[in-house]
Amino acid sequence: MGWRGMLALFFVGLLTSGLAGAAAYFLPVVVAAYAQTGLARPAPPTPDQARSVPSAAPAGGSAFTVLLMGSDDDAKFAQGVYLTQSMILIRIDPATRHVTMLSIPRDLYVPWSTGGRGKIDEVHQHGDAASVATVERNFNIHIDEWAWVGLKGLVKLIDLMGGVDLTTGNPVLDDFYPADLESTNPYSYKRVAVLPGPQHLDGIHALEYVRSRHGDIQEDFGRSQRQQQVLLALRTKARNVNAADLPGIVASFHDEFKTSFNLTDFGRLRSLLSLASQISDPSQIEQIVLVPPYTGSDVINGADVVTPNWSLIRPLVQQKFT
């Protein structure tokens, strides 16, 4: 082999070894992406829904709808069988850069996609797809993608982002806050006091802020407002994330994150991150919580439930999510 051949071999080897180093760096992302992302999409809507709600595929620049779900995943529940403590529908319109967030009350009493009726948070015991389908059928919308995160995953993510900065609205005081993350007894409880005003919250304290509900005059509705607030603060932090941060983020989630988004589709991922960074004006983000008269309250089978006023909710959802 002449010197030209040696030189060519050297540069090919150099390129290959550099790529191998990068591949090793991103290996956890690829492994996690195959294991926890690109999961089943929701079942297609029924023919009635298909007529009433045109499907908006998230391809290109068309608007799309995402269902975010958050769960207690402590020892109260069997592995993988969790309630959804938080459900937030998000509509993102890349063309107008407009975002709409709608929190679904966890105690909303609805027919389940799996049959029967019950609180909407309980249908998640039948799987992610059951939750997605239940929301689709009741709210008469098409959900393009979904994502689920567990408590510990949220705490780790916020810590990895260096915490969140926000203005907590009022003193959040709770003498019966679950101490399940720091105790082997999933029913143990502790006192929390998140003081009001602008501040920097780490993962544990941000979780206390979004999870506490006993001391709030609006109970779960107040908590929903706080959840949206922290989500927006996280989005602000996420604007600074780059590709080199992904392995750390993936490692922080471990088994605490699932999504229908295919995170091996790097092109789409990049466009989504770019879109997130372009939505910087708070007026572009609309926040909706289904307080009365959109909902009422009742006791069914001895349980306090939130009853939907579909005659008000569905037109609102139709207007904001289609």
């Binding site: 990068a22 915490g163 609205g169 019966f176 502790k190 006192r191 006091a193 920097h200 001391g215 780059n242």
Partner: protein, 389 residues
């Protein structure tokens, strides 16, 4: 068939190439690792900050601030720890000077309770003033936001008395207890009646007149949110009156040393926090002037001479709260011109307070830009700042 001749030179070249290839792979890995955003990078300790040359070194007097549960003293641009974080979930917070400046009242926050301590400015002679800890989780109490009365006779603070009719209703009220020798927490008197399930009444500021300014939380039907207002109550148990409209959602009142201006943080129930000041005549507030907007400003604290304020606000990417200085424009003399039209919050201009009839005033002076005094530190933005001359 010719076999390649493995001369020493060729072997050397192959070894060199292999070494470069391995180094290239490792370098690519390390390069990517080094280009993480470092969102969760460590903050410096105040004692590590080199600030002696900056504007912070010109701050008069002594300030006390909290970072990581440790109470720090700031003098001539240099920080020193006064009360180190006790460890675990325990931390010091919310220092305030007694009127004679000889002592500090400070909160020790533990896992399930918090207590007030009296301590000398060097961190010695700790005296426990309250006893809020209990082995039963829900029998613990919180005490926050201590503030001695101007005559030093009483200590005001926020305290969560238990609601026997509903254990979930944990709500803070303003209390006052005697500070004289031999007095005890059992002599504490409840001053305000908080709105249930809102968080309650906090941040008392006792006035020389005997009245108390404080922050009250209420549910606002219009916005569907719990919002805050600055309130004034003349005496214990009396019905307070609002000094700010609920839609402004103002909190953290700080009275100037001459008692004629009130600084506060107003959020409008949104994710911003402007630093505003307004003239205070002892019973009502004049039009508010926005000094700082576009930041998550917190904990405004007057300089001993009343010419400036320090406050906490985040810095850049890491979002940790730093110390900032805001010079305060001199109060404008009242003139007999027509009132200026309403201006928009955030424009650093006068803002009429709806509960108060508009007072004819001259156009406000231009507001100087705030000066960032620290960087890469991580102050506790829920803790007050104590400053004495």
């Amino acid at each position: 068939m010719m076999r390649p001749r493995w001369t020493t030179g060729r072997v050397g070249v192959v070894v060199l190439m292999a070494t470069v290839w391995i180094a290239s792979g490792v370098a690519a890995y390390l390069y990517l690792g080094a280009h993480r955003t470092m969102l969760a990078g460590e903050a410096k300790k105040p004692t590590e900050a080199r600030l002696r040359q900056g504007p912070i070194s010109h701050l008069p007097g002594t300030l006390y601030l909290v970072q990581g549960g440790t109470l720090y003293r700031l003098e001539r641009g240099s920080f020193s720890p006064v009360l180190k974080a006790p460890g675990g979930a325990s931390r010091w917070t919310q220092p305030v000077f007694t009127p004679n400046g000889q002592s500090l009242v400070v909160v020790r926050r533990d896992y399930a309770s918090s207590d007030l301590y009296l301590v000398d400015p060097s961190g010695h002679n700790l005296n426990l003033l309250t006893h809020n800890a209990s082995r039963t989780v829900e029998a613990n109490h919180w005490a926050f936001y201590p503030r001695p009365s101007p005559d030093g006779g009483s200590l005001f603070y926020s305290y969560d008395r238990k609601d026997p009719s509903n254990f979930y209703n944990v709500v803070l009220s303003v209390y006052a207890m005697p500070m004289s020798a031999g007095s005890s927490f059992n002599q504490a008197k409840k001053w305000t009646a908080p709105t249930s399930f809102t968080g309650g009444d906090i941040q008392p500021v006792p006035l020389p007149s005997g009245a108390v300014i404080y922050t009250k939380y209420s549910f606002d039907d219009k916005t569907g949110k719990i919002l805050s207002q600055i309130y004034l109550t003349p005496r214990a148990g009396a019905q307070g009156k609002a000094l700010t409209p609920i839609e402004d959602s103002c909190l953290q009142p700080a009275l100037s040393p001459d008692g004629q201006r009130l600084a506060m943080i107003c959020t409008g129930g949104k994710q911003f926090a402007s630093l505003e000041i307004a003239h205070f005549d002892g019973s009502k507030l004049g039009p508010a002037q926005v000094l700082v907007s576009g930041q998550l400003a917190a904990q405004p604290t007057w300089s001993p001479d009343g010419t400036s304020l320090v406050y906490l606000a985040p810095q850049g990417l890491h979002g940790r709260f730093q110390l900032w200085l805001q010079p305060v424009p001199a109060p404008e003399p009242t003139v007999s011109t027509a009132p200026t039209p309403s201006s928009i919050r955030g424009s650093q201009a006068a803002r009429p307070t709806p509960t108060v009839p508009a007072t004819p005033t001259a156009p406000p002076s231009p507001v100087p830009q705030p000066v960032q005094l620290t960087s890469d530190l991580d102050f506790d933005a829920t803790s007050t700042i104590a400053w004495r001359g």
